[in-house]
Amino acid sequence: MEFLGLYHYWVFVVLLMIGFYAVVAKVNLIKKLIGLSIFQSAVFLLYITMSKVSGGTAPIFSEKITGVLYSNPLPQVLILTAIVVGISTTALGLGIVVRIKEEYGTTEEHEIQEIDRR
């Protein structure tokens, strides 16, 4: 399993870049937001990967198990709150997109710029 030691980080990089590509290249605003949430999930994955300890278990004590390693609770706390914050901010973004659609009649970036230029 030696060669898989960094696999989780590579997946993080690939996901991050897929999300980044969608944000940079796509012109549809909703697609950009979907890309943003993939980007976000990649960061979550990085943090949770770092919290894992081999042979450890989730940091919740139980009388049935003693003398075991526990994974790191701190990154989990950070990500737990970030997920709910993430959905709220995504909803805010979607709200803005809906308003843009109502004002401009489109959600495609270049058409919006076209209308603004006129």
């Binding site: 980044f20 590509y21 990500i79």
Partner: protein, 329 residues
């Protein structure tokens, strides 16, 4: 062996992400995003993060799909334009990928117990929690007590996002917008004419509510807490709204009550901190809330988790109603 399952699931995750970006149909992208959420929750669970996986489950399975579909109903289902400057974007992204990839080679190996991350405060949290707070779930202890300031900040971010959505979407549309008459008794609302989903959802919604409350108040002993519970309770009401229509849901839990939940939760959280100050300790130090410092900590955590749950429920439901009301306006 479990590492191998992790690797398989991560590979599926990458395939899903590629498919999401490639499809032109946004509805399909939202469906695939649901699969993405399921996969990443399974990965979190494999990586020992039960609390995080529960949060992702509560948020990703229902609420996220419902919000995206709500936005799609108001905009457009298809991506019309082709991607301009595709090769330029790909080149930029590849360059960035190589830089980040290069950085990963300095990362400690997966699961290394001697990684720097595990040397700082984490061992202290794991060691001292039984002594200072005495609850089994260290994640809740860190969330509620040790890093209470951080969580307070997050709650206010959620609160602000909720206010923002309400500001954006509750403004009335101009005269061009057609208002349909109030149709509270119309069988065509929601899925009221579909008897099987109707009966099953009526059966299920109270159980989701009950489970949400269980997650809220069991958060000290198992995976759970205010964030997960808030999302679950919101999901129960969203299920009710899908079946019975907005009007009835708003009659059960009116917008005024949602606003009160949003504000009340944030105030409860801040108030617990202020009471701590009045009792002569620092802001958000719960030790002084009861005669015994350990009991005080536990009381404080229960109270602030309740505040978090209230705010999250209020915000998520307000956002949902804001999108749904826009649909009918």
């Amino acid at each position: 062996m479990t590492v191998l399952f992790g690797v398989l699931l991560l590979t599926l995750l990458v395939i899903t992400a590629v498919a999401i970006v490639r499809t032109k149909n946004l509805f399909v992208a939202v469906m695939l995003l649901g699969i993405f959420s399921l996969l990443i929750a399974a990965n979190f669970f494999l990586l020992d993060a039960a609390d995080v996986a529960l949060t992702e489950a509560a948020v990703g399975a229902g609420i996220s799909t419902v919000l995206f579909l709500g936005a799609l109903a108001l905009t457009s289902e298809f991506e019309h334009a082709a991607t301009p400057h595709r090769w330029l974007s790909l080149a930029v992204v590849t360059g960035a990928a190589l830089v980040v990839l290069y950085a990963t080679f300095d990362k400690p190996e997966f699961g290394d117990p001697n990684a720097p991350v595990h040397q700082h405060v984490a061992p202290w949290y794991l060691q001292k929690t039984p002594e200072y707070i005495d609850i089994p779930n260290v994640v809740t202890a860190v969330l509620g007590s040790y890093r209470g300031y951080d969580t307070l900040g997050e709650v206010f971010v959620v609160f602000t996002a909720g206010i923002g959505v309400l500001f954006l979407l509750s403004a009335r549309r101009g005269p061009a917008g057609r208002r349909r008459p109030d149709q509270a008794h119309d069988p065509a609302i929601g899925l009221r004419s579909h008897v099987i989903p109707l009966v099953v959802s009526r059966l299920l919604a109270p159980f989701i509510l009950l489970f949400g409350l269980y997650v809220q108040f069991h958060g000290e002993y198992g995976p759970g807490g205010g964030f997960q519970a808030g999302a679950l309770i919101a999901a129960a009401f969203i299920l009710y709204a899908l079946i019975e229509g907005e009007e009835r849901t708003l009659r059960v839990l009116p917008q005024g009550a949602l606003n009160a939940l949003m504000v009340g939760g944030a105030l409860l959280y801040g108030g617990v901190g202020v009471v701590g100050m009045l009792e002569g300790a620092e802001f958000l130090n719960y030790s002084v809330l009861a005669a015994n410092p350990v009991k005080g900590q536990q009381l404080g955590i229960i109270l602030i988790e309740a505040g978090v749950g209230m705010t999250v429920t209020g915000v998520l439901l307000s956002i949902f109603h804001a999108f749904a009301a826009r649909d009918r306006a």
